[in-house]
């Protein structure tokens, strides 16, 4: 498996290609004892990199993120953050180390108000809450107007925005996003992608799972294609997006078809 790591390193474009910010090595993990969902999955992200993970439904993308974040038990393999081994570490420890995570589902506190939801994002450093809150209100004015409403009442897309904002509160150094654009309107999707990219440009290492694969690969430095719990393909975003096999199996031709069918703008 170390061979794989090697390949990644070669294709890595991160500035300090030497020391990975976060690395999962041969992770075997699963929800039930004896049933592994991830079967030796490896992933590496170098400082300042933006990594996209795509793959069919049920491939184990979310599971991989959860395994990195300590929410799923890793049976073998290891997860390393910087120079620390964080395999099966307690989640809140990871947050202290600056890892932010937006889950795919259930990503808000439904009975807390929106503001409280955001405050939870910065639970570890309450001193900075005011400042960060202001920043978030700027980024998501929608949320500001409804800050005293309970998050449970929000629509699907509104929740998604809130979830993102919550993760941004803490100014993470590594950000794990599970389908951040799902359920968002196109303009907000763009907003989300671009914002993520900007955050990434400030030096934050981003690992995102996306089903909006094309867009994801457009903006990511590198991408991984996961299938059946393994990293089946990896390469730069562009490489993957243009790889005919990847297109056929994962990306589909819909977007291309539609574009050619309805030439626009």
């Amino acid at each position: 498996m170390s061979a794989q790591t090697q390949t990644s390193t070669q294709s890595g474009t991160g500035p300090g290609a030497r020391d990975a910010v976060i690395e999962a090595r041969d992770v075997v993990a699963g929800y039930l004892p004896g049933v592994n969902i991830l079967n030796g999955c490896s992933l590496v992200a170098y400082p300042g990199e933006m990594i996209g993970i795509i793959g069919p439904n049920g491939a184990g993308k979310s599971t991989l993120l959860k395994a990195i974040f300590g929410l799923v038990k890793v049976h073998s393999g290891s997860v390393v953050l910087g120079d620390r081994d964080i395999t099966n570490a307690k989640t809140n420890r990871l947050v202290e180390m600056g890892v932010g995570f937006v889950p795919q589902t259930n990503n808000v506190f439904p009975t807390l108000t929106i503001e409280e939801n955001l405050r939870m994002g910065l639970f570890m450093r309450p001193k900075k809450v005011g400042e960060r809150l202001a920043a978030m209100w700027d980024l998501f004015p929608v949320l500001h107007d409804r800050r005293n409403q309970r998050a449970g009442a929000l629509s699907g897309g509104e929740r998604q925005s809130l979830a993102m904002a919550r993760a941004l509160m803490m100014e993470p150094s590594v950000l794990l996003l599970d389908e951040p654009s799902a359920g968002l309107s196109p303009v907000r999707q763009d907003e989300t992608f671009i914002r993520t990219r900007r955050i990434n440009k400030t030096g934050v290492c981003v690992v995102m799972v996306e089903q909006n694969a094309r867009r994801c690969l457009q903006i990511c430095d590198r991408g991984y294609v996961l299938d059946q719990g393994r990293d089946a393909y990896t390469g730069t975003g562009r490489e993957l997006a243009d790889d005919p096999k990847v297109i056929e199996l994962y990306l589909g031709t819909l977007a291309k078809d539609v574009e050619s069918e309805h030439p626009q703008h």
Partner: protein, 323 residues
């Protein structure tokens, strides 16, 4: 109603569909030649905020209608209202909606579904501790075995059960879930649940299926094949109303698009028309929805500002609404 059969029969042909919808005005709430769902005066307010306020809407039989709109526009709430999962605030002041000729104003969620209008949920509702297969079997309508008195006599329902099972297998095959048929639905991934949800709804052979963001979180390759399936359903005469944020999908399969914003119906028309409507672009699509985001120029503050302006617009309307 006499021409119902003639109009719907030929709808498998794209040209026929285009012809059918060509005559329809592209104004919000316009009349359709053969509406299957007619909605009047539905208002739903949460506290001070009006989430849905639809004056009039008709959904044409036998075609695929997309319902699009910014986040929080009230699409899901609208679904909830007409499928009986929520009650309109205007229930007493003339809220009215009918499906296939029958009034649905006061009916419960289950009778709405039995009338042939089946919906899926944006936040999926998989029956976790039942297998995928059982999930599917539950979808079938009119099962003799679901009658308390008959269910104890297996011969009464054995054959029907077999048929249903066959049908379920076929659907699962199509939704790439067949190999998971004996797994608990609770162990499915997010996208798989979406698929199961849709497949299950289809088990009931609805006259009209209402999909709430069916493709969010579904792998693009699979999306494509599913869309084919949805189209073939339409071709068999099913009416489809779906909410979706993926414009490729909308453009690819929808025959008609309705746009909601701040709870109101703001535009209607064929996909191309609607999507070139500047109002829709401003409030919903944004300037970049077809551009390549990989371009670093997009990271400029300008773009960001522009984006947030666009997004804020969604909000601005809403506030007008409230005041």
């Amino acid at each position: 109603m006499s021409d119902t059969s003639t109009t719907t029969a030929g709808l498998a042909d794209p040209a026929a569909r285009r012809a059918l919808m060509a005559g329809v005005a592209t104004t919000p709430g316009s009349a359709k030649p053969d509406p299957i769902l007619v909605v009047d005066n539905i208002v739903r307010a949460f506290g001070g905020m009006t989430a849905v306020d639809v004056g009039h809407l008709e959904v044409q039989r036998g075609v695929i209608t997309a319902l699009i709109g910014p986040n929080g526009a009230g699409k899901t709430t609208f679904f909830n209202l007409i499928t009986g999962f929520d009650r309109p605030t205007s229930a007493r002041t003339g809220a009215n909606w009918s499906f296939d000729g029958a009034k649905l104003n006061k009916t419960s969620a289950s009778s709405v579904a039995r009338a042939g209008m089946v919906r899926t949920f944006q936040l999926t509702k998989a029956l976790s501790r039942m297998t995928v297969m059982e999930n599917m079997l539950l979808g079938a309508q009119g099962q003799t075995g679901e009658n308390l008195l008959k269910c104890v006599f297996k011969p009464l329902w054995r054959n029907q059960e077999r048929e249903i099972e066959e049908k379920a297998k076929e659907l699962l095959q199509r939704f790439k879930l067949l190999e998971k048929k004996d797994d608990y639905a609770g162990s499915l991934s997010g996208g798989q649940r979406k698929l199961l949800e849709m497949a299950r709804a289809l088990m009931s052979d609805p006259k009209m299926i209402m999909l709430d963001e069916p493709m969010a979180g579904v792998n693009p390759a699979l999306t494509q094949s599913l869309l084919g399936h949805v189209q073939s359903l339409r071709d068999d005469g099913m009416t489809v109303l779906f909410v979706e944020h993926d414009m490729h999908v909308v453009r690819h399969i929808s025959d008609w698009v309705a746009v909601m914003a701040e709870g109101r119906l703001v535009a209607e028309g064929p996909a191309d028309t609607v999507m070139s409507d500047t109002a829709v672009i401003d409030a919903y699509l944004g300037a970049h929805h077809d551009t390549d985001l990989g371009d670093d120029r997009l990271l400029s503050d300008d773009t960001m500002d522009q984006l947030s302006e666009e997004a804020a617009e969604e909000q601005a309307h809403r506030e007008e609404e409230q005041s």
